[in-house]
Symmetry: C2
Subunit: 408 residues, 2 copies
Amino acid sequence: MSLRISDNSPGLTDVPGLRVGAAGCDIRNKNQERLDLTLVVADRLCSAAGVFTTNDVKAAPVRVSQEILVSSAGRVRGFIANSGNANACTADQGMLDARAMAKLSAEAVKAPGEPFLVCSTGRIGELMPMPKVAKGIAEAGARLAKTSEEGDRSAWSILTSDTRPKTVTARFDWEGRTFTVSGMAKGAGMIEPNMATMLAFVATDLDAAPATLRTALLAATEQSFNCVSVDGDMSTNDTVLLLATGASGVSLDGAPAGLQKLFQEALDKVCFVLAEKIVGDGEKVTKMVSVEVSGGRTRAEAEAVARAIGNSLLVKSAWYGEDPNWGRLADAAGYARVGLDESKLDISYDDVPAVVAGRPLPENKPRWKAVVTQRRFTVKLHLHLGEASFRLLTTDLSEAYVNFNKSE
Amino acid sequence: MSLRISDNSPGLTDVPGLRVGAAGCDIRNKNQERLDLTLVVADRLCSAAGVFTTNDVKAAPVRVSQEILVSSAGRVRGFIANSGNANACTADQGMLDARAMAKLSAEAVKAPGEPFLVCSTGRIGELMPMPKVAKGIAEAGARLAKTSEEGDRSAWSILTSDTRPKTVTARFDWEGRTFTVSGMAKGAGMIEPNMATMLAFVATDLDAAPATLRTALLAATEQSFNCVSVDGDMSTNDTVLLLATGASGVSLDGAPAGLQKLFQEALDKVCFVLAEKIVGDGEKVTKMVSVEVSGGRTRAEAEAVARAIGNSLLVKSAWYGEDPNWGRLADAAGYARVGLDESKLDISYDDVPAVVAGRPLPENKPRWKAVVTQRRFTVKLHLHLGEASFRLLTTDLSEAYVNFNKSE
């Protein structure tokens, strides 16, 4: 039975066993009417897993969520997320504030003392405006609902410089029953190493032990968020959470392999769609480019080449200008220093060869140039060193990006 | 006796024993009156050393120069350099063309068969227009002179997107005699890893064995070109050459330690001034920023943090906007992943502390903001993990850079 994907879903309210509430409490101190906080609450304690930034500088909510996952043995009641303030580089007060947000969340849903995870995104280095946040948590708690309207509000509340909410729902059937995996995410900045604070929240109505969820989430992340280059150089706050409400009454643990496989496919797909949506909504992006490197001796080699290309200012500027400029691709591939042999290198744009075995094919130039005028295209490099490959989804770099980021 | 530095010198014609000639031969195929080729010729065979790009994709002239340094045992007659075409990714024909350029150079100075090094910079992936180049080499050969006018022309001829020539001369005295170390360089693109094709040519009237020169050049490069981040991720063509004409009749080999030390100081200074000039003339740069990281356990750790900061699009965009935004510095420092301890981190702008032991000092904000309005300033990070430090000279990122590079 195949997956059914809805990519304009309300997100987490599609998952039986979850309620959400969103509020606007002016965390940005701009007197704006803007949603900036959401509570996501399971009907009862549920299993959870998280993947967090590997940055040495971890925001307080990341450290607090990691603590809570350990102290609760992976059984939580829900999470609180806010935009507008990252609560990063805020020293001891930041830790106190993040813990207070978890405590206030439990109180707001009349489950005092139950564990809540905490996620924040926004400006670094400023203390959370806690009186406002407390008010927002209470308001979100009072709004908790399973309606798609509240799901939409929740998906909006976590955005920063995103232009649209990012949600997806996957459903699949097993032995006459339907199961759900849904998620919502936010990007920010350009989706490049060190650019994005990325938050993604995924839930399912299956049940599972926390360790089972963690294994599944790591596998899904590896093929999705980690292939849009938002992991190796994550921000201070990047977080992916997975909750299993168990509302279906069916557990993955000890389930038939077929069900486990369907769940993993659904989870992979949900994470991949969210990752794609993050890239597609990168700040001031005009193009999405898939960099497909094959023929590496190892996946790490292929990845190094793909990332060198995807992170090159000159390559990205050229894409913005719709200039194929394969010379800049070859240069970037070379400085990944995987031991590339130029005389074996093939480069093509979509399916139009530009370089074969190190020799340019200028006669194809009109056709490459047509490829890069598209809003979305693929550049393919074959290294002919081995069998491993890596695909990186990335973007161009526009003047508007620089202008947008020249101040906050 | 201290060094005397002239940083608007004519460059290599300040060095006794060298003649230079420059020509314009329309290598860019744009029918422009523009100097684009230079010959630099010693009065007789002389010792030479080179430092070359470590990119897997090395341009033909880089590979040919490396071959010639080996086959000649480091004794060459001079070099030919051109702008407008990098002769990179040009397969076998590129190698033939680079070798032909060496041969034509020797013939043009009536020294057929003598070894010449070859350096090219410009567009990647196009064959050299050899009939034009041959004409240019002959013309440059006919103009060979020791005049400062021809030195100026030579310094202009190697430029690409640079806005001004980059030259410097250092002179020092030893036992009543004056010795000279001079150089010229070109940058290109933003001076960032993978951005620049950098060429630098330095010469002295001292004599020395090639191995002596190589040691001296590596030491000077480590403290200059390698600290403006034009090595680890060099382009296909980056090259630094050092020639010792021996016209002074004095050799470094077996010389008193005092003379050796003065020479090294002069060489270090010449390389450093050229590196600074390259950064200062980076494409569409509006600010030069010195990133000084101290308190690393090793120099490599301090360097990793400095490069993470200096290469961050968000950090560079913020500098362009004169937004101090120390949060972005802390984030970038963290994803260098050297095991930074946020609670020990100090950050300051020039001498104004912004963060001490992980705690922001918002009361100083007006003073940091004043620092980043300057055309040149320093950001200092102290990691308090050890005693090692690294200084990276870098730049901001402007909208104009993206516009400039969106096509060639």
